[in-house]
């Protein structure tokens, strides 16, 4: 029967497609999902420290690179196994609410503020980040914000709060994009921008913006790793996540982080072995 045959053909095709779709899921072997900030990914650090772990554990780490806020949201939904983020207060909240367990310090660097040559706000050389922001705001100088609830954005909001200001107006641009994209936007618009030092150093050669503010202790930027709680989300790969925590906090990997360089400059300082919360060291 014609109709029977064409329906059978149809079904066969659908089944074939189903099989094909299984095959596109690709290689066997375990995978671990890591949601992380755009900075650690874009600076190439993860490509440096993850392969030895993948090899030792015969697994593949799927890195989803988004802002810290989004990474935590994805983790709260149970869509990843572990997160590597930088927003200490939000991280503690995340653990306190039972979404994550066994948070560990991994490393730190610091934030800096970049500005256009000529420095229209006149903040170059200031160490006080709060005062720098106040001068940018009072001069209505262009400032490009991440605007995406990332770790960098959270820190920026904290600084505005400290400066008792609510940034609003045509001079304050919310990019809603990753760190490198935001840097690029600030560069094109000749504006001020706050950035973690690693991403700055990584992009320095392609930027016209200059470093204007650094060294304020409030600009300290610590990174932590947190496995998603297996009590909240039973399907997560908790043991493999803990193995990853073990690896990134191990002396071997900590040394790899500490010696990771771009153009002769170290980007991150390992901190897993530190006893006390670290003080800011202004010049990495």
């Amino acid at each position: 029967m014609g109709i029977g045959r064409s329906m059978r053909n149809c079904l066969t095709t659908i089944i074939l497609c189903g099989l094909l779709s299984l095959s596109i899921e690709g290689s066997a072997g375990e995978t671990l999902r890591l949601a992380t900030t755009t900075s650690t990914y874009e600076t190439g650090l993860l490509d440096h420290i993850l392969p030895p772990f993948e090899k030792a554990h015969e697994c593949k780490i799927h890195v989803i690179s988004v802002g810290t806020g989004k990474a935590m949201q994805i983790a709260r939904n149970g869509d990843v196994d572990v997160i590597l983020v930088h927003a200490r207060t939000a991280e503690e909240q995340f653990v306190a609410n039972g979404h994550g367990v066994n948070r560990r310090d991994v490393m730190y660097n610091d934030f800096v503020i970049l500005g256009p040559t000529g420095d229209p706000a006149g903040i170059a050389g200031t160490r006080d980040a709060k005062e720098a922001l106040q001068r940018i705001a009072s001069g209505k100088q262009t400032f490009v914000s991440r605007g995406d609830d990332s770790g960098t954005h959270k820190k920026e909001k904290q600084l505005w709060k400290m400066a008792a200001l609510q940034p609003r107006g045509a001079w304050y641009l919310e990019a809603g994009q990753g760190m490198s994209a935001t840097l690029r936007m600030a560069d094109e618009k000749n504006g001020y921008v706050m950035v973690d030092r690693a991403t700055y150093l990584f992009n320095r050669d392609r930027l016209r913006l200059k470093l204007v503010v650094e060294g304020d202790p409030v600009l300290f930027n610590p990174y932590g790793i947190i496995p998603v709680s297996p009590y909240r989300h039973p399907h997560v790969k908790y043991e493999l996540s803990m193995a990853l925590v073990g690896w990134v906090t191990s002396p071997t990997c900590q040394k790899m982080i500490g010696t990771y360089q771009r153009e002769g400059t170290r980007l991150y300082h390992p901190s897993a072995g530190d006893r006390e919360p670290q003080a800011l060291s202004p010049k990495p």
Partner: protein, 230 residues
Amino acid sequence: MDYIWQGVRDSLRIIATLDPEFLATVLVSLKVAFLSTALATVTGVPFGMWIAEARFPGRRAVTTMLSTLMSLPTVVVGLMVYSFLSRRGPLGELGLLFTPTAMVIGQFILAFPIIAGLSVSSVVGLDKRIRATAESLGADRGQSFRMYLREARYGILAAVMAGFGRVFAEVGVSMMLGGNIRGYTRNITTAMALETSKGEFALGIALGVVLLSVALVVNILFGLFRERSQ
């Protein structure tokens, strides 16, 4: 201007040396787009042909709906499918978010209205006497179905190509549902978005060249097919 030339030069090197990361990205794009187009074809073409011939109350609403959905924004599809596939969503158990399968589902939803909608128009445009003649010669439903398929083949092929073009070039669904995981869900368009945001143009340009070439090849094949069968 220098950095653009530098980018073009580097992109040629990436293509010529078949850089593995570049290849993997192209492969993900091709696999996902072919699969979603194939699924939308086997469901959308028969559906479109049926709608074209069927007479039932609300048929007009269905065709209006199809043509509206043709311009469905990719981010809306991304958001919808994301909320279903997330672990908190109704299909969370399947663990499909951030996989190529999730991308296929999203792209299927994009391609289906295009392929079905354009199939409707290509069948509606046919001479009504074809079916009458076929049935008067004793053709059963399956036979007239195949007859229509033959007569409307250019229109239907164009529909499939339009569907493929849409999903191959889209970025919203792939980014939201795939998560841009390197070597797994990173395809041509999401890689280009990432590279541009990093200010690295070489890989972006190389991928753009592939995107255009695939479109060109598909169009040439279509032209050949048309010529040969005339």
